[in-house]
Symmetry: C2
Subunit: 242 residues, 2 copies
């Protein structure tokens, strides 16, 4: 059989989504409409296979992805249930300082106040989980938006893990960037506080009066070890996280 002119494609107003996506939509629609409320039991895979005329692997993939996304809970030998919706995650994504400044359409710059090796005192040793007296690297930067200070970054780096740190070029890349190009699979841990600026912060951020500041503390892990800990201080009147 010879193929002549390809038939004009049948006009299709339904986007040709993969089958497993259609199964996911099918389930999500019933959840969001309230037809299947929290803790409600779903039809078994076998039943869905029969009802939808789709093979089990495809049904299973759809349900597995909805489970990974937190919409369903599955128990082997028991069944599939709509997840408790209290689980709705409330996440905030923290962006890098250079990205923040660029996304505001401003010019980014960074002033290096110091960048040196130190011997860890008790506090520093605790911050990056080394012994007191070990060598650590410390960087003290002020990140600016159109030359106005926007963030003070006081960072300790594990010298044993990242010996090249002092020789990096921090005008091309932030410390964050250096870390993520040097190490794969980093993970982060954060805490956020509100604090009044003290003399040190006011000086480096050029604040004339005491100002409420956002303080983000970030610990960066490479596997089981802490590579770096940073204290990042944003003046509350110049920046808000979002």
């Amino acid at each position: 059989m010879t193929k002549k002119t390809p038939l004009p494609k049948p006009v299709s107003y339904a986007p040709p989504k993969p089958l497993y996506e259609r199964v996911k939509s099918h389930v999500l629609k019933r959840i969001s409409s309230g037809e299947w409320p929290a803790y409600c039991r779903l039809p078994s895979e076998h039943t869905l296979v029969k009802d939808m005329g789709i093979s089990r692997m495809t049904i299973h993939r759809a349900l597995r992805e909805l489970t990974q996304a937190g919409f369903l809970e599955r128990i082997q030998g028991v069944g599939t249930f709509v997840a408790s919706l209290k689980t709705a995650p409330k996440n905030l994504e923290l962006k890098d300082i250079d990205q923040i400044v660029h996304s505001r359409g401003s010019k980014y710059s960074c002033k290096i106040h110091f960048l040196q090796a130190e011997l860890a005192d008790a506090d520093a040793a605790k911050l990056i989980a080394v012994s007191e007296g070990d060598q650590v690297f410390r960087s003290y930067f002020v990140h600016c938006e159109n030359d106005v200070p926007l963030m003070l970054e006081d960072r300790h780096v594990n010298a044993a893990l990242f010996p090249e740190y002092l020789r990096m070029d921090f005008h091309d890349a932030t410390a964050e960037n250096c870390l993520s190009t040097r190490f794969a699979l980093l993970s982060h841990e954060h805490s956020i506080q509100a604090k009044i600026s003290d003399a040190e912060v006011s000086h480096f951020l050029a604040l004339d009066t005491a100002t409420a500041c956002l303080v983000i503390n970030r610990r960066t892990w490479f596997g089981e070890r802490i590579v770096s800990t940073a204290r990042m201080v944003y003046p509350g009147n110049r920046y808000q996280l979002n």
Copy 2:
């Protein structure tokens, strides 16, 4: 062939992980060791099938999950690559106030200052995307840890979407809880600021002096519509996010 006594299981010190998990570990190990750096091309699925003696669907599942997790990038017709690691997400999960207090081993309580219907002024209308003059619900709660104020919650609720709001029992469940049991598939949008307490905040949080506070603004969406907007104020000296 008859099956008699099942052979004593071979002593295995390796945990019997599923094959696709082993494939994932295999790949992740090479990424984290630096053997496969960012942008490096991975062997094709076909090659992995041959090398590891595992079927293509299983290999494919492993690579798909690593892609979803952000470790790989795949291009149809081209190949699989190690993702740029700048993409490492830096997320902060925001917990519910009752969870926070309980996880600190303290007693949670909530004082309702008011809970009423109002006509939206310009500000309120903007907050939940209704027209000026529309009816909105407003709740004004102080959440306490061992009867010490820990958070002021000033909330506007779209009355058309959630008409039962005023009749809920807020001693059993927080407003957040009510929202998530009433609506499935909510999504949230946040901003975080640092602000000095003003007279209103100082009064309701029982602060004797001006204090730096964390202010979290949360908008809660149900599909395309805003259900509720909340301003949550935490005194910086009593709480930090983590």
